[in-house]
């Protein structure tokens, strides 16, 4: 009996080893195919240079919808379709911010209105600037001190965190809430120091939110300007004058773009995606053109290598992540309505940098199973399976009980260029981008085979 058991265990362990070897060979094939023949980089050039930034609701976004539809067909999708989504239409328009120092002269500052912010309706709005360095400091101000003033939230992006997303998360409340907080105490508009890890003067836009009906403007300035303003405010009163035309102009129907290769065994779905929209500055190259071209690369690679996928592998190019997440919400809703079984979803929305891990937002059993595959990923520089979050667009799926995840690229450079004019194709490295697609294809290969 012992002998038989021993022999069985031996055969079993040989089978496991054989399995691991087969997987490691498949991992290498995926990597070699993508590094040598991957199209993600040239497609990103096409998207960023021929369409450029593409806020949902804009004409450029509609071009991007047609572009993604075509690229999914080119990649070999069995089926491609558009999913209708109502998206907000936010327009920036012309904008300027000036300050007047004690010498009486007006100086223009580099700035960007925050996304979703209302403007001044093309009129000058001015007032004295008061500066706070933190929420706590702002809380101590009385409405009398704020009334009629411009509040400058000068909270610096923390350099101390290793993962820059933590610094971003820490500072994000200033961007999201500055206008509402200022309005509550009677201020005229809010200025924030950009959520930027760089030591430069690039302003960063990004979503803000109104908590009530008093919708006053909020704008961001770059780090250098913030530093200079801070110095000036120590010695004198400064008046700021904003003139802006931004604002929400209702909603319109738009689309997420979906393409899939049909499962050979069943119709359960594995989602891989990114968001097709971007902010209205720069080219949306890292955020999130990268996630889009990587997701399409996954599908292309399955077809090219002739990997027989058991389950349906579906690429979703989500609409409107940046200012509403309407695409992600609609996708989840439709999946529920259609009673579609989703096995797994992964999003790439943290930049096209060299991958370091995959973050796992799922129950412990599934999590442990994926973590048990770590040694397969190690040779590809993908070693960190400790994260517990997943992409924004697939949270609705997560809330329905689907195991979700996110590609974790190196985060050091992301918040230098995130939501700025500098998020351009030139900032993306070909090999780094392709390696992200490699990791996504590899994990989908494992999930498809084992789940």
């Amino acid at each position: 009996m012992k002998k038989i058991l021993g022999a069985s265990l031996f055969l079993l362990s040989m089978a496991v080893l054989g399995q691991a070897k087969e997987d490691s060979i498949q991992f290498a094939k995926i990597s070699t195919e993508i590094l040598n023949n991957g199209k993600a980089y040239t497609e990103l050039r096409d998207l960023t240079k021929n369409i450029g930034h593409r806020l949902s609701g804009s004409e450029a976004y509609e071009k991007a919808v047609k572009w993604a539809e075509q690229k999914l067909r080119d990649a070999g999708a069995d089926k491609v379709w558009l999913q209708e989504v109502m998206v907000p239409v936010w327009i920036r328009g012309k904008e300027s911010l000036q300050i007047k120092t004690s010498n009486g002269k007006w100086t223009s500052l580099k700035m960007l209105s925050l996304g979703n912010s209302e403007g001044t309706g093309g009129k000058d709005v001015s007032g004295e600037i008061i500066m706070v360095k933190s929420m706590e400091e702002y809380e101590k101000l009385s409405p009398e001190q704020v009334k009629g003033k411009i509040v400058f939230f000068n909270y610096p992006f923390s350099q101390s965190y290793i993962e820059t997303f933590r610094g971003y998360g820490d500072a994000a409340k200033y961007r999201v809430n500055a206008a509402s907080l200022t309005a509550k105490k009677g201020g005229k508009f809010a200025i924030i120091r950009s959520l930027s890890s760089a030591f430069d003067d690039i302003p960063h836009t990004g979503a803000m939110r109104y908590e009530n009906e008093n919708k006053i403007p909020a704008v961001a300035i770059g780090n250098t300007t913030a530093n200079e303003l801070e110095v000036l405010l120590k010695s004198q009163k400064i008046t700021a004058k904003l003139n802006s035309n931004c604002g929400m102009k209702g909603e319109k129907p738009s689309h997420s773009v979906i393409g899939e290769i049909t499962g050979k065994k069943d119709k359960s779905v594995i989602v891989v995606g990114g968001h097709l929209d971007s902010w209205d500055v720069g080219e949306g190259a890292h955020d999130d053109g990268s996630g889009i071209v990587q997701s399409i690369e996954v599908l292309r690679t399955f077809k090219k290598l002739g990997i027989r996928n058991n389950h349906t592998i579906r690429v979703v190019c989500f609409a409107n992540e940046e200012n509403g997440v309407k695409g992600g919400i609609q996708y989840g809703k439709t999946a529920k309505e259609n009673n579609e079984k989703h096995l797994f979803a992964i999003e790439s929305d943290a930049g096209g940098f060299a991958p370091r891990g995959i973050s796992l937002n799922m129950n412990n059993e599934k999590r442990k199973q994926i973590q048990s595959w770590a040694s397969l990923f190690f040779p590809y520089g993908v070693y960190n399976f400790e994260g517990t979050y997943s992409g924004t667009d697939i949270y609705p799926l997560h809330d329905m009980g689907v195991p979700t995840s996110e590609l974790v690229p190196d985060s050091q450079r992301y918040f230098d260029i995130h939501h700025t004019e500098e998020d351009t194709f030139e900032k993306v490295n070909r090999r780094e981008l392709l390696l992200g697609a490699v990791a996504m294809t590899q994990i989908i290969y494992m999930i498809d085979k084992n789940w």
Copy 2:
């Protein structure tokens, strides 16, 4: 007895845990100090913009010697000195490469003579180009086929390796040997496709070597030019004409720069270094200004945090890594002559990118000990202790039995810009550079404490 043993084990494990906690607190202090107050990035700007590239033997290199001396003093070194080294003097001078196609017109190609190559002495040297795609293909050619010809070694940099250093290692023999191989069969000069991972037209220089006295020139062209030349050669005979003035102009005395903080317990030495010289194009920012400013940062951080170092921590800014390794050789020789005990050496010479690991070139016992510290490094993105090589400049120390190592940064972007006009300060990211200094300071803290 069992109880006593149990209690002892308990106390021991508490002590080990306490130790790990103390180390992890110290790791965090090091990281926070460097990310918030590190000087490496601004000092790299100073070195690259105010001195620029600095081939050993050049005036710029001598300026860099003075610069490093001052920076080591500023960082708080107890002792700073210069170590004399005889270095080769290689000069590039004016150079041009042209080709004539079947239409009879001459076209200039972007090119760089390889480092250490002799030129044409300012005269035109021309001949018909023959192309080979590999060493194997070249071996098959008879001397009659090569005689009087220009040999174009068109071997592409492999994109398949995850670690780009492997692709570099694979292709390096073409750069090193092309001239000697061509000379052996009577060719006039050699052209190589650059050792470049990029899809661009930037030529990469770098060291070549002569195996015999027939010193014919070797030059590099960029990938785009190589591709175009390959296409042209399929349909027609192409004549190439080289005119160059490069060559070796003897030797001269120069210096490595050394600074240290004295050990509180003994005089054994821990070396941290990089090479101060660079090729004569670009700014030597990643290669290896980064290693220099990171090494100085280590010393500065020990002083700033008041870490009591048991052993002497010595920063060595090596001369002449690029075309002779005379600084590294001299350092080893002097250490031997002076009977200095070296505990450990680490070099940073793989670019100022986000660190991923530390490569360990030492006996298994020491290697295992360092690997047992891995969990301390994990939160800093440093997870890979599998490598077995160490930096070029510290090989002489390794050969004397010293445990040596190298910082392992992400390698994806390095060979896009390595040894080119593009290796500039702008290609270095502040946080990535500083995190490399963090990892080096952390490992030296551990070695200093435990060895």
